[in-house]
Symmetry: C2
Subunit: 187 residues, 2 copies
Amino acid sequence: MRADARRNRERILAAARTLFASERPEVQIDDVAREAGVGVGTVYRHFPDKQALMGELVKERFKIFNERMRRALDEGEEEPFEALASSIRDNAASVAEDAATRFALMSGGEAVFEHAGEEKDEFLRLARKLVLRARRAGELRPDFQAQDVPMVMCGVCATIDRRGAPWDWRRHLELVLSGMKDGASRR
Amino acid sequence: MRADARRNRERILAAARTLFASERPEVQIDDVAREAGVGVGTVYRHFPDKQALMGELVKERFKIFNERMRRALDEGEEEPFEALASSIRDNAASVAEDAATRFALMSGGEAVFEHAGEEKDEFLRLARKLVLRARRAGELRPDFQAQDVPMVMCGVCATIDRRGAPWDWRRHLELVLSGMKDGASRR
DNA sequence: ACCTGAACACCGTTCAAGT
DNA sequence: ACCTGAACACCGTTCAAGT
């Protein structure tokens, strides 16, 4: 890829991040192009449609999720449940700080997730390992599945900054984590 | 309101319910009008904009929520936590069966909820009573707030039929309910 | 009092012309 | 190879004309 093209691509992503995070009404591609200092056509050259642009944000976010979960696998040998719980806490916190990606995650359609397909698969593989390890240690509710990790994360994300409702997503997450613990090992 | 106007209003709502529930791409007001057998202008005469149309579905759903919670207040004297939990279970199940309202709840903006403002306030009042009673009985986690009722319902709703993900929202809800129980009284 | 649908406005996407 | 932005298409909303 030519150097100027690469630079434009980065500028478009940066503009999308800024605008998706700040604007109230639906952000337009024309706005993204203007903010990035390129023509609309250039946005479409790099991202076939709006969903693909949002998809790229989601893809990058999943990469960050996956890094955090790999670290949990490496470092959490002694406390398998806590390793899983902490990685979910940190991932939720990173989404909470990134309104642009949250917008993409929540309002994007199926295409957005397909764009991040590979990273999503890797996410599930890592979740499976963390879940199995915690289950073997007897710290996790036995019917908890690997797919339940993205499920509960989606549930918590849906309650971050929801239309001005005064919701406390951290308490929400702690409720869920406490529900995930095996009955015998609950505090 | 004239009889034909009332009939048109009902037809429009019925059409919206059918289309929001079945269509894949964003449903158009023109489609709703055609399905209802009226002109577009008639849709706009009854509902000032698309959000108001979705808002009406949400409003009616909140009325159903509130009926269920009033019943829980009347009948659940002996088992206050179970009364709260059952009403949440039933409300989630009723949303799960109603794809049109789920669409309105999830993809509608703030205006949709303002349209159901009064019912939403009543919902919070009922939630407060159910929560206080369960807390007094020592069955509920002491830091659980009345606002957490819509919060956890929103979280669970967000994971019903999400882009073909094979998620089990009933297990999700049971996780949350189990996290809501007071530590001392958990099974 | 209410209904109709052509017309308008807005925004996602394309493509002919340019470098 | 890549960029530009005018033009097109689609869909939410309005409003003049009708009953």
